[in-house]
């Protein structure tokens, strides 16, 4: 039992690395994508739109397989599966975050931009001090949903052979002819997401001082 828990803890660390690295890259990258979707330059908008459509319109599991195996078939070169897994998660989640950012940015009344302009704030100052804080408050619930989904989606990394929590649980389960490891994995995911959702709730409370 102790050996099993140790293995599962190792799997959990892998899952958490996927989780953290994906957020680290896709949260800022999603912003770039959102800007691309909102630009007046049509070709950039079209390409960004197509990218978002593909990322949202095809299964993540398929994207994982594609990202890992496509370079091998095209260039004859293979690379580290963990890296492939991060790349796939990042490009997928950036698309979803981009749409959340866009909805937030577009929900801000244009009077806010106009008041800032008339008062002489620079564009950068307006964005970081006037617009962004309001956007964050509005998108926090949607962002929370997405981040919770990411915790569970890390289980898909096993498709390309990354030994994350669910893979470890499944292997242990078939080795010991028992569903207990699967059940324990469920508890692990639940605890992680409980923490994530508490963090988002705290964030929402912290920003609840204004309307």
């Amino acid at each position: 039992m102790q050996g099993l828990l140790l293995q599962m803890a190792e799997g959990t660390v892998v899952s958490m690395r996927i989780f953290v690295l994906t957020l680290l890259f896709s949260l800022p990258l999603g912003f770039v994508v959102a800007k691309g979707k909102m630009t007046r330059i049509k070709p950039i908008r079209w390409i960004t739109d197509l990218y978002i459509q593909i990322m949202r319109g095809t299964p993540l599991i398929l994207q994982l397989i594609f990202v890992y195996f496509a370079p091998f078939y095209i260039f004859g070169a293979s690379y580290d599966r963990f890296t492939a897994c991060i790349v796939a998660f990042v490009i997928n989640y950036s698309a979803y975050f981009a749409e959340i950012y866009r909805s937030g940015l577009q929900s801000i009344d244009k009077g806010q931009h106009e008041a800032a302009k008339v008062l002489g704030f620079t564009r950068a100052y307006t964005f970081f001090h006037i617009i962004l804080p309001q956007v964050i408050k509005r998108i926090l619930p949607a962002l929370g949903n997405e981040v919770i989904t990411l915790v569970k989606d890390t289980a898909l990394a096993q498709t390309i052979g990354v030994a994350e929590l669910f893979r470890v649980a499944q292997t242990a389960s078939s080795r010991e002819f028992s569903t207990v490891p699967i059940f324990i994995a469920g508890i692990f995911y639940f605890v992680m997401n409980y923490i994530v959702s508490r963090l988002f709730a705290a964030g929402e409370r912290k920003l609840g001082y204004y309307r």
């Binding site: 106009e114 002489g120 001090h129 204004y210």
Partner: protein, 253 residues
């Protein structure tokens, strides 16, 4: 008399829709101009061009002796961006919808631009803000957030926010249209006080009696042209043009 605003031959179209056709007027320092007219007449667009929220297509505009844009070969050519910014700081605008920053306290709404744009110290900015709040009768609201205030209070904060930057001319774009009659009076009182202090102002409004009371000069606009202008007594009391007469009559109950 020193000229604060000198606007000549202003033109503006949105697509094929010509919003402003040859608008010209001047406003002397310390005077109050009111602009009236039906919606869609181009009043707001005129203010928005002077305060740089929209770009002119053609025309010449001087504010406090500095040229924001001038007509060259039938096109408005703008000053350098730095010059635009500096001229922009001479103008203040009060919006119909207040547009306060909801995530800032009342105090910070008034200090933020003083600190970030004019580089005033916190102490100086706060002293200025408190003095303005006192003038607006809102000194006890400094620590509150905009959503905790009534519409009339929010509009007074937004006037304080504009005044904090010491503009040379202040524009009001239908400042009472979003307010109940009761709250409207608070705002009109503030504007009248500013007029008594010789603040140069341009007020777009539907409050005819008020416009007549506070302004030194009045303009009636319709369909993108100035139909008639003159002293408030002339324009409101004895309009020459049929269109002006009809419009003013429509406001008398």
């Amino acid at each position: 008399m020193e000229e604060m605003i000198k606007l000549t031959g202003l033109r503006k179209s949105f697509g094929k829709n010509e919003i402003l056709k040859d608008i010209s007027f001047t406003l002397e320092k310390g005077r109050v101009l009111s602009i009236i007219g039906p919606s869609g007449s181009g009043k707001s667009t005129t203010l928005r061009i002077i305060t740089q929220l929209e770009r002119a297509d053609d025309g010449t505009l001087e504010i406090a002796g500095r040229t924001l844009f001038s007509s060259i070969d039938g096109k408005a050519v703008y000053a350098r961006p730095q010059e635009e910014r500096e001229i922009g700081l001479k103008t203040g605008l009060v919006f119909q919808a207040f547009n306060l920053f909801p995530h800032f306290t009342v105090l910070r709404n008034i200090t933020e631009a003083q600190r970030a744009v004019l580089r005033r110290s916190r102490e100086e900015a706060e002293d200025k803000a408190i003095a303005l709040l006192r003038k607006m009768g809102l000194e006890d609201k400094a620590r509150e957030y905009p959503f905790q205030l009534s519409g009339g209070q929010q509009q007074r904060v937004s006037i304080a926010r504009a005044l904090a930057l010491d503009p040379e001319v202040l524009f009001f774009d239908e400042p009472t249209s979003a307010l109940d009659p009761e709250l409207t009076r608070e705002i009109l009182r503030v504007i009248r006080e500013l007029a008594e202090e010789k603040m140069t102002m341009v007020v777009v409004t539907h409050e005819m009696h008020f416009a007549r009371l506070i302004s030194d000069h009045a303009i009636f606009m319709d369909k993108g042209v100035i139909v008639e202008e003159g002293s408030p007594d002339e324009l409101f009391g004895n309009p020459k043009e049929e269109r002006t007469r009809k419009f003013i009559a429509s406001f008398e109950d």
